[in-house]
Amino acid sequence: MWVYAAKRVLYAIPIAIGVSVICFSLVYLAPGDPIQSLIPPDATAEDIETIRRLYGFDKPLVLQYLDWLARALTGDLGISLQSNRPVIDEVTRALGNTLAIAIAAILAAFVLATILGTLAAFNLGRPIDKIATSISTIGVSVPNYWMGIVLVILFAVQWRLLPATGMGGEGSEHFSWLQWDQARYAILPMVTMAMIPLGVVTRSTRSAVADTLSQDYVQLLRAKGLGEMQVVCHALRNALPQMLAVMGLQLGYLIGGSILIETVFNWPGTGLVMSRAILTRDIPLLQGTILVLALSFVAINLIVDLLQTVIDPRIKRA
């Protein structure tokens, strides 16, 4: 087990290096010169050259990358071109805000999806299965920014139950789910975020549990006299590795790809930071954000892989 875990962590290193190369070079593949946004329109060629040297843009790309990597390893992701603050600070604060709603969303989605998917799998073709399948189809296919706007109209505008956008005055520095005056700002974005994972995980739970139920050993469980709840436990434990894999991917998407939701709710997370960085050509901020997000993705998948081996002993052989 530990040998496998150590191996798996080692395998993650080349992936992380690859990720950093892609992050770094992506920015240069995009058209346009990052310097353009920094220089005043009336700058002389000399001024431009000075700024170029100041930010290290004059060196060969490989050197720029190695410099960037060496600094990144010490936690220095450079200075944001727009705010002049360290990128690492901006990214960690945004990541904290995003994780607060993303993890809550994925947990809520996972619990609900497990219940729905299991009920559906045990009642294939019956009304309850059709309801669960419909919910999952709606979750996957309704655009989430639209869903967010609808929720805002209903809960914030019509019924005045929850705030429409933002994090409230206190929340943006130290967000906590435990304080209602902060948590209430997070509810609508969290619900909106949970929709797609709910749909995807429900569907995969349904198919994984249904697949398990068609196996011979389920007949043996029944032949042993076990009750339905015990059969459910066996079925879920067998389906769990597959469900976790899907859930890990979904959490990765939520952390990185929530630009639309965070924009609708004006939630100062990674998505909002990234969209700002793109629009203002804030290269260091963009590189830093993408790197942190990509590494989080690698880390989540590593954790899922390790959890899977704990649950299913057959995976260890791989």
Binding site: D216, R222, K224, L226, N238, D312, R314
Partner: protein, 357 residues
């Protein structure tokens, strides 16, 4: 009461003071799908006493495994219909409420499945899977149940039992997995053991070992056993009684000796004639021509008639009824030839004389 009940065993066997271990009468299983109704098992009757071994013989699709599952109501509900009676120690299993049924499964009646590769849960250890059954039926603590699991693993002679207790199914060979499944089945000393081709999926040498083990455990523990197989050799080794199934019905039922040495039904005869052992080397094996009928569209008369060398117009027209035969058994044939050992000696009960005519 079904007609089967009144004609078959009633006349021959002296009335038992106690209910037999298992008394199946008029058992009928239909599978229901959109395509229609499949009559998998029709009008099945037999009895089993404690400590007896009944072999159900038949080719694939004859309904033998379905019969076994029906006895424990393991068939998918909603897609199958079971009718008739299955009396286990005088109580009808088919009408038991859910809870009582679960209490019976794994405790009074246990089952061994054909495929040791897929019948054990891959993500639980062998010990857990045995202990789970023990805990479910005896209310024992986890420690006590694990200790019992270890005893059982020793009982089925799995080498290095302590290590195997913590092993997962994929870490064991097929033979050891089948032994582990036997340990699960025996965990609560069942009175009735149902074995669905327990040796078919194993290598030939392992088959013999598992068969010997099962036979010995069956005798030591005095379990009534129903052994489903298509292997005549297996049946000859362990059976007290044999029921031969064809197209969902028992076509010949009697003591192992009667059925194997003096088969009266043309299907049984054909099956015995097509075995490899005892045949001259240079001659082709005899085979029964044709293939089993489609259970969704059974012929009007005898289901075996299209393949039967003795079939007449009567067979095409009319399905035969049960005719008592032997000491307690019955036959399903218009033209059953009483074999040389069978015909009516003076001490035969009147019921069988009818069969011989």
């Amino acid at each position: 009461m079904t007609p089967a009940k009144t004609t078959a065993p009633g006349a021959a066997a002296p009335r038992q003071p106690q209910a037999p271990l298992l008394d199946v009468s008029g058992l009928k299983v239909d599978f229901i799908s959109r395509a229609g109704r499949t009559q998998a098992v029709r009008d099945l009757s037999f009895t089993l006493e404690a400590g007896e071994v009944l072999c159900i013989l038949g080719e694939s699709g004859s309904g033998k495994s379905v019969t076994l599952r029906a006895l424990m109501r393991l068939l998918p509900e909603g897609r199958s219909e079971i009718a008739g009676r299955v009396d286990f120690l005088g109580e009808n299993v088919l009408t038991l409420p859910r809870r009582a049924l679960n209490d019976l499964r794994g405790a009074g009646i246990s089952m061994i499945f054909q495929e040791p590769m897929t019948a054990l849960d891959p993500v639980y250890t062998i010990g857990d899977q045995i202990a789970e059954t023990v805990m479910r039926h005896t209310g024992a603590s986890r420690e006590a149940a694990m200790a019992r699991a270890l005893e059982l693993i020793e009982l089925v002679r799995i080498p290095s039992p302590e290590r195997r207790l913590r092993a997962y199914p994929h870490e064991l060979s097929g033979g050891l997995r089948q032994r582990a499944m036997i340990a699960v089945a025996l965990s609560c000393y069942p009175k009735l053991l149902l074995a669905d081709e327990p040796t078919t999926a194993l290598d030939a040498t392992v088959q013999v070992q598992v068969l010997i083990l099962l036979r010995q455990l069956q005798q030591d523990l005095g379990m009534g056993t129903i052994f489903v197989t298509h292997d005549l050799g297996v049946a000859a080794q362990i059976a007290d009684k044999i029921a031969v199934m064809y197209a969902g019905r028992i076509v010949e039922y009697g003591s192992a000796e009667e059925v194997l040495l003096a088969p009266a039904h043309p299907y049984t005869r054909g099956m015995l004639a097509s075995t490899v052992s005892g045949q001259p080397r240079d001659r082709d094996l005899e085979a029964i021509p044709g293939s089993p009928p489609d259970l969704r569209a059974l012929p009007r008369g005898c289901a075996f008639a299209p393949r039967c060398p003795r079939a007449t117009d009567l067979c095409q027209r009319e399905e035969p009824g049960l005719t008592p035969s032997g000491a307690f058994g019955h036959l399903l044939c218009h033209h059953a030839q009483p074999s040389p050992r069978n015909p009516a000696p003076a001490d035969r009960a009147p019921g069988e004389l009818v069969a011989g005519q």
